[in-house]
Symmetry: D4
Subunit: 208 residues, 8 copies
């Protein structure tokens, strides 16, 4: 764990035996291996290829976690993950699992942007102990700025590639987050991993 | 007046004698002439070049109105003009004057975005009789969507070319208005004239 | 109905049981549910999953309407929908159905751009009672400006993502509508829903 | 004259003595020299630096023509130059002068787009003997397509860098000309020289 | 034939019975119908759906020509079509067939750019009677400028969407043609139809 | 102080009396006022317009701080500010002053990228107690990723608009920070204010 | 071999019999033929279509080499090929094979970026006799600049189209390489062929 | 000299006393200092600020060289610098001076593109001993590819920011060089320094 951030193997585009071999090697070295953008089929292959390890697959996040079964030690700190809609959940889940893998407690409030601000207030109430907020939103991507106006802790905006037409693959969301009058930091479009790891770094600091 | 929309002479880039001549000709034909993107100097030249007409200059909107002094007949309808910040006022004023020239009553609420939503509610209250809303905003351009979520009448978003960095000349605002989940129509960046005239067309219909 | 605009469920990307469940819930709460970008297969699943409701599928618009069978009450106002070509009809139909769902009367003139302006005049004649016009066009997207030059009511341009080459997925149409010398408001590329709802808001005002 | 097209010296960015020297050299070799994007001051310097030659300056086109005074022989063919507005005239004049220099007769109709199509028909009537049409237009750039729908000869669209906001420096005009359903060929933004020379090539062919 | 240019039905995206019906209708009205971007399957369906007409399919150009069998009358003029590589031929063939349909004689020289300039000279020699040249090229798109430097007649550049990486779908070719120091006119990426029809207009003029 | 972040008045584009008035009003309400993108002349005007207050001007950061003279209470936490070159210092200073205004201790290491990595290690050593790092870099913008690979605390990348040519106004730096394999969060180009305030929020949390 | 660079047939998009015929012809003329972006199936077809020749297929590089079996004569010089990750290997292999075909010795160090700089030093040590370095990297594309800071020979950066989100198809890598403060030359995204041939030209010169 | 490449101080944007100080310090450490993008005034200030050193100013390249007067030792190798037009010379001269500073012999052929290929052949003849070619070209930027087709040594393309309209600030040239079928490597727009240093690295290798 360089700087406390787990290495993540990109499963997408790797052929399955190669993926299994890489993950097995990591498991032997570090006791744990994460693969992102993985299919259910790849997870099954890992499971049978490394039969005596623990292998979990998270379909929304498309993540495989291969481990010797020992739980991640809690390093402290709490990360909140919020999405505007349901399409953003796949990105949010990637963030959530990384933050958990980095030893944080995570809290989530999904789909609280679409239905109007009245669902947002009670959601934020539930998340009030978080040390950092990851807020995922597509289309015009305004939810992170709204949250940043309501909480006093750092808010990380994650533009999500849902939408259509002009700048509709997350670019409008990215642009509006960067231009926001609110105090926000931003990661790449769909970059759940980066957002989750960054939030965990904040939470670690806040817990020390 | 083709379709009830006044022709507007673009003063910018025209040399002054040419501008005075054009405006004088229009005045003689239609009793009225508007010039946009005009300087105070151009207004002075028009004033002395056409001494027996009425000549008003609006410095924020950079508009000259030359007329025979007769007021624009009220054709009915009310247009509300809103800005997020003070930098947006120059665009808003262009919209306001065109709507007035098209016979509408106008109501304004300027700089109601920057100071937080608590200034927006009483502002909208004052504007509640409007038949259409023109909302001008730069940077991430979210105010039109917020207004559209609060009023039941048509809202026209006007992206304003203030900001810096990535897509900072109104492009981020344009993109976020086009991608908005709220029901909004949009005009070109800084297009106060188009927004004001479009809103006036709506207001005319609503008053008949 | 927040602000009189129906919530629309985006069917695209949702798995079918989830879609059926959401639509059923909305139906129970509000007596009516619309899903957009839906396939015929999804419509069939809704039909069998909610057997005692009325379920209509509009293949051009790719819309499902699930209701208790009671008609939408006419709230007044007339919306005209125009397309330049036949490829624009899918977008136009989305606008038309939303306007109908919002209680407007709709009138259509499809494919009146391709064959030359001589087909446009009689078409506009038929549509002369409309309170607002939605004009859908791809490629260079000039039809909305032409219509705006011929009618005195508000015209909403909808760029359509047909075409090829340079800015050929609706971007040229969007750009030309935004730059138009005519008074036009614009929505996102392919945003039939927004255009139809916005036109209905205008028409409602005009009818009161 | 390679391929019958005059070499044109770009005056912009050259220091004046250097420009005078180059033009003098060309004059001695070929009896004629054209400089584009030239200032009045540069023209004056050429005039005094080459006192026994004929030196004309065209302020709209910003062109200097230095010659031994002999007229350009008519090589036949007629080129029509049209502009939508008055801001396009500087580009149109560049096209016109090049076509004249290539021995064509030129006909012009300027500012026939802004005031509506009713001014276009009589203008085209005057230009009906042209072998090719150069049509200059900014903003949404639709005039070339309109002309192409009305005449049977080749129409060359020239996007002009006037406008503001989204793609407002001629890019929207370029895009809409390239996407046009009408049969048009296009040159670079503000490329009056290329359009005029291309039209002259067509006219030469048509006259043989 | 408006302005002598055949209407072309875009087969792509139309369902087959609809296409057959449209083509049949055109055939009955005008004795001839062209469909572009058509598949072999669509051609077969047209052939069996309109059995007593003549139906040709051009696989490279992806064009169907349905006619009463009478040949296109020669209206005069010769158009040359040139490609840089073999990937450009599909676009070139579209241009060639339209020019033939407009009554021109066509001459071709395909794949003369890739193998170096030594193949270009004899090719141009064969094409020396052409009244206009259509030159198709992808990637950096320089062949049109080279041809324009060697022939005295109008050259129309057609950027082709082959290539990869930065601006690799024809955009680099479009940009380099527009910026060319040579006198060139340009059409949209892959716009064989427009280039062929434009060249035929030139050739018609040259032949009168 | 909404959420602990000071409101900042944008001095740029405001006329001086207006600026003085706004700052005076803020001073009276909150005891303190910050203006960004301010000139020395504006600072002088504020100084004489509000004579009995304390008025500091920071020429690199172009910031005016007007206060009743009482120091900002230390809220805890340490923020490190790093620049790759000297041109980035103006942005870095904006970040530093905001972080100070939010009660943080700040540490700086400027111009540690240009001279090679050997200057970076001792610099980071000096900054090792920071709770968050703000790293400003233009051109290819790689320094933030290098720092993130060496420290275990959150690193915020600030793209700076220095450079030339392709994406040379900070866009390349923005893109490379967003694509970075390192865990980084990013703010808008030149957005020193946002970066400093965000880092201060992190530092506050870490100190509690 | 024009300028010593082998012609390469682009297999992609060619139908198989056509490809076989072209390769056979080249083989007969020059004793050797390379096809790029080829599938295994195409290689099999070549193998059976030209049975008495030697036919090698390189699956990573997707290259077919058809030859009379005689080895490429060593023309001297050594080219090093480096990749940041494993996804870049397909591009690197294309470069390597071309350099070999041009008579160079090649050395490789693949996947030395992802695991941190500690794997890079020993890798560069192994490559220290190279006359030129080809460095392939996607995402933010910084490895070429790092290598250029460590070796004294020419480094060619190859941006690779892996990544996602903003400029994620190699554009960020291209931009960061072009903006780099290090001395680098760059080729198109994924342009392994160009990079390998260019490096071989350098190596040839260095060996003479 | 890290890797044999001189550090270059960017004079642009630095205030004069600061520049003089930096250059003086470098001179004392390394006996030599180069400043780029410098004005004549800055050169004069350096000259009087460091009176006992040798200070040369190159107005075309806008470079100052401050040294102890000892000549750069010839490290071997020859670099050729070519420009298409006269506007490209400022960039070419920057390349030339850096290559000289790195101990290479330089040969130049300027303005050989504009007047047609007939001037290019004798120019290349004069340059035939070069180990590498730097070719600077604006607008469509095709000269590097032409040269690469005629010489067997590495050719580095430098896009120059001259031109107008669509991609007219060097972007079209960059794109066409990257897409070129010829074997070329490319540097950033106007990056004379990088091109010259890269060519010198090649030439050094070729001379050993
Ligand atoms: N609350 C806000 N939300 C979004 N944009 C805002 C807000 N307040 C101000 N702006 C924009 O920021 C820019 C500068 O504002 P000002 O300094 O008030 O002129 C204007 O274009 C405003 O539209
Ligand atoms: N006369 C016209 N002017 C502009 N665009 C048109 C015209 N006719 C058709 N189009 C557009 O061309 C595209 C294809 O038309 P169609 O083949 O009829 O579906 C559609 O997006 C139309 O909007
Ligand atoms: N080692 C480096 N790596 C990347 N960028 C750098 C480096 N050094 C300087 N820069 C950038 O180059 C620009 C000019 O640097 P300077 O001349 O020091 O102001 C600044 O924006 C720096 O961020
Ligand atoms: N240390 C690194 N720095 C920059 N880019 C990297 C690094 N490691 C890997 N990459 C890039 O990330 C992409 C995916 O890497 P891989 O999963 O190893 O194929 C490749 O294009 C790499 O060039
Ligand atoms: Mg959102
Ligand atoms: Mg806003
Ligand atoms: Mg249209
Ligand atoms: Mg126009
Ligand atoms: Mg080509
Ligand atoms: Mg940097
Ligand atoms: Mg990399
Ligand atoms: Mg060139």
């Amino acid at each position: 764990l360089r700087c406390g951030i787990p290495e993540v193997v990109l499963a997408e585009g790797k052929d399955t035996p190669h993926l299994v071999a890489i993950m097995k090697r990591y498991l032997e070295t570090t006791g744990r291996c994460i693969a992102s953008r993985a299919t259910e089929e790849q997870a099954d292959a890992v499971r049978s290829g490394v039969p005596d390890a623990s292998c979990e697959y998270f379909p929304d996040a498309r993540i495989i976690i291969l481990s010797d079964g020992s739980p991640v030690p809690k390093t402290g700190g709490t990360v909140a993950i919020i999405t505007a809609g349901t399409s953003d959940i796949r990105v949010a889940e990637e963030a959530r699992i990384i933050a958990e893998e980095m030893g944080c407690t995570t809290l989530t409030a999904y789909d609280v942007g679409a239905a109007g601000i009245h669902r947002l207030f009670p959601a934020l109430q539930k998340l009030k102990d978080a040390n950092a907020y990851v807020v995922c939103a597509g289309r015009e991507g305004t939810l992170p700025a709204v949250v940043a106006g309501l909480v006093g802790r750092p808010v990380i905006g994650v533009p999500v590639s849902v939408g259509y037409g002009y700048m509709g693959k997350g670019e409008a969301a990215l642009a509006s987050m960067l231009q926001s009058c609110a105090v926000l930091a931003v990661v790449n479009i769909d970059a759940g991993f980066t957002a989750g790891a960054f939030a965990a770094q904040i939470a670690h600091g806040a817990d020390q």
